[in-house]
């Protein structure tokens, strides 16, 4: 069956009355779940699995695809409106999304996020349709050294491009890596830095750090600013984007759709790395990099487009090899198996309706997301009209529930409070929090990849240089440091000359 015949069959399933109805339900439920901190696409899909028992597999997958897109968008909405990224993929969206909301452009930011998600999702589905078999071959050739190099590149890139001092960003990253070493070592089973506490054996949860450093730390600013009228903030602003704004974000979305998709295809990389890489690469390319972090449209468009494109890219190894490339696709794999379908090379021949149904549902899910969410934006943004004191209490409650619902331990809640205080101190002392969080997310995987590589090479570091892919990425990682340093030196030198003149 060729691609077009397959797609036609897929659309037949997706465009049936049942199909449309369930995508619609999925998108709405997903958006609501995604807005709650701590509940991202993974939880949303996991919650849906019991509901799909006994459903036609193709229809069940349509529902899940809808939930998946909805939850990703819901996460972006809480990042933009509350500075509370519920999942790691949404962290980069806060960098410019929240400043935009503060300036009274919440509506615009949400519209940009919706359009970015749509463009990223749609372009990457086209890639998925045509390049799935080809790309999965490249991803398979990645071993531990290549993964390590890729993750290191992601980290150095974010550290070198953070606002302010590069050394502070690096320290922040190293501390993130240190926090990631807490818990049982995956290779030897050694307990590290647990201080005898059983609560620390499994390490610290991502949410504790993300909600502490970002949302709870923001509470202090909210408290200090509670008496300010915040007129701008109350103003959701128009959703309409001007022609210039479309022109501005067009190339960004095009580039990030491709880049995000490619990153997503690599197993383990996924939405988080792609959203950070997307943000950073656009900042690098921009003629006005100083606008980033202060409410730049491109700063919202880039991570949202890249992260949606990467999420679709992650379906390449899942559908063609049966290997999930991200947490979300891992849950999807579970859902497929529950429905009696084993993804893998035989999926296309054994269950063409499912294979193409999933792909067609992605086209449809994207369209519905846009149609549903654009009119909903004014209602979503009403969160901003909630009086400050009430909003502060509610944000705290949501943070607490988000953490408690995962760990069921009050110990983690005290940790959450501690990270909130650390987050505030970091702001006070101009330490960027994003490198810490990204380093923490990647820390565990990086350490495993590094040690596996050294085990393969009998302890020789040359393995990172002899592999051409790993070598190139390491070189890029080093360059990403040196180039900004030289630029800074040059700028400082110029200033001195100006002063002496």
């Amino acid at each position: 069956m060729d691609v077009f015949q397959g797609l036609a069959q897929g659309f037949q399933v997706a465009l049936s009355l049942d199909g449309i109805l369930f995508v619609l339900i999925g998108v709405s439920v997903g958006t609501v779940i995604g807005m709650i901190p701590g509940l991202g696409p993974i939880t949303a899909i996991a919650v849906m699995i019991p509901i799909t028992y006994g459903m036609d597999p193709a229809i069940a997958l349509l529902l899940m695809a809808g939930v998946y897109y909805g939850a990703a968008y819901g996460g972006a909405a809480s990042s933009i409106l509350l500075n509370a990224p519920g999942v790691s993929e949404a962290v980069a969206t806060t960098f410019d999304g929240y400043p935009m909301a503060k300036q009274g452009k919440a509506g615009k930011a949400l519209a940009v996020a919706a359009i970015g998600s749509f463009v990223g999702g749609t372009i990457s589905v086209v890639f998925l349709t045509f390049f799935a078999p080809l790309l999965s071959k490249v991803a398979v050739s990645f071993g531990p050294p290549e993964y390590f190099a890729l993750m290191l590149l992601g980290l150095t890139a974010i550290a070198s491009l953070s606002e302010g001092s590069t050394i502070k960003a690096l320290i922040s990253g190293v501390i993130g890596l240190m926090i990631a070493t807490i818990g049982i070592d995956a290779q030897t089973g050694t307990l590290r830095f647990t201080f005898g506490s059983p609560h620390l054996m499994e390490g610290i949860d991502f949410l504790v750090i993300a909600l502490g450093l970002f949302a709870l730390a923001e509470v202090t600013s909210l408290i200090l600013g509670r008496k300010n009228k915040m007129d701008d903030m109350h103003n959701v602003g128009s959703l309409r984007l001007t022609k210039e704004e479309y022109k501005e974000m067009g190339p960004t979305m095009g580039r990030q759709s491709v880049l995000g998709f490619l990153v997503g295809v690599l197993p383990g990389a996924g939405g988080t790395i792609s959203s950070f890489l997307g943000y950073i690469s656009e900042k690098k390319l921009s003629k006005k990099p100083e606008e980033f972090g202060k409410g730049s449209i491109k700063g919202v468009a880039a991570p949202e487009t890249a992260n949606n494109a990467a999420n679709n890219g992650a379906f390449v190894p899942l559908l063609s090899l049966g290997i999930p490339g991200s947490g979300t696709t891992a849950v999807m794999l579970g859902a497929l198996i529950v429905l009696g379908i084993q993804p893998g090379p035989l999926l296309m021949t054994d269950h063409p309706d499912v294979f193409w149904g999933v792909i067609a549902s992605m086209y449809i899910g994207n369209v519905f997301l846009l149609i549903l969410n654009l009119p909903l934006i004014p209602y979503l943004s009403r969160i901003l009209l909630v009086p400050r004191p009430l909003l502060i209490s509610l944000v705290i409650v949501f943070c607490v529930i988000g953490v408690y619902a995962i760990s069921f331990s009050t110990f983690d809640l005290y940790l959450l409070l501690a990270f909130g205080i650390i987050g505030y101190l970091m702001r006070l002392l101009n330490f960027p929090a994003a490198p810490l969080l990204l380093a923490f997310i990647l820390g565990g995987m990086m350490e495993q990849a590094f040690r596996q590589s050294l085990t393969i090479s009998n302890g020789s570091l040359s393995i990172f240089v002899t592999s051409p892919i790993a070598g190139t990425m390491l070189l890029l990682a080093i360059l990403s440091f040196i180039v900004p340093l030289i630029k800074n030196r040059k700028a400082a030198g110029k200033e001195n000359i100006d002063k002496s003149a």
């Binding site: 890596l177 030897t188 809640l413 409070l417």
Partner: protein, 150 residues
């Protein structure tokens, strides 16, 4: 000598680095593992020390666009909210999610200066109950019931 902020932070970070390194060196070693579990922590500990030394010799940034310092007048408010959070966490499993959340939302909002007590009361009651129902029946997540019978 410790005049600048960067130097003070640097000294704290060096202390953290040394503490982390001592713990790393005390991790048990295994005979037949080619790359043991203490390798990465030791490397990270030294990396932090090196970066902290660099920071020691870096000049403070002069421009601070968004000053996050808490004014003296506001300090009791911020500490009060921290106290509210500690009480909330402490009583969560003892009194149960609904009861503690209702009390927290109402009194914390009032403490922060929200004066519409009727609206405050309605929100403080409705939100916890809705969240509890959502988690309990839809997400199948059991939140602590505490002293309430449901």
């Amino acid at each position: 000598m410790f005049g600048t902020t960067n130097r003070k932070i640097s000294i704290c970070l060096i202390a953290v680095g040394i503490f982390y390194l001592i713990l790393s060196f005390r991790l048990p070693a295994y005979a037949y593992v080619p790359i043991d579990s203490d390798m990465i922590p030791i490397g990270l500990g030294f990396l932090l020390l090196i970066l902290a030394v660099f920071l020691f010799f870096t000049n403070d940034q002069k421009t601070n666009d968004n000053d996050e310092r808490i004014p003296k007048k506001e300090l009791p408010i911020v500490l009060g909210v921290v106290g509210f959070i500690v009480c909330y966490i402490f009583f969560l499993e003892i009194l149960g999610f609904i009861l503690v959340t209702v009390l927290f939302l109402f009194f914390c909002s009032m403490f922060l200066g929200y004066k519409k007590h009727v609206v405050n009361g309605i929100v403080s009651l409705a939100v916890p109950i809705l969240i509890y129902l959502l988690f309990d029946s839809f997400l199948q997540v059991q939140l602590p019931t505490g002293i309430l019978p449901f």
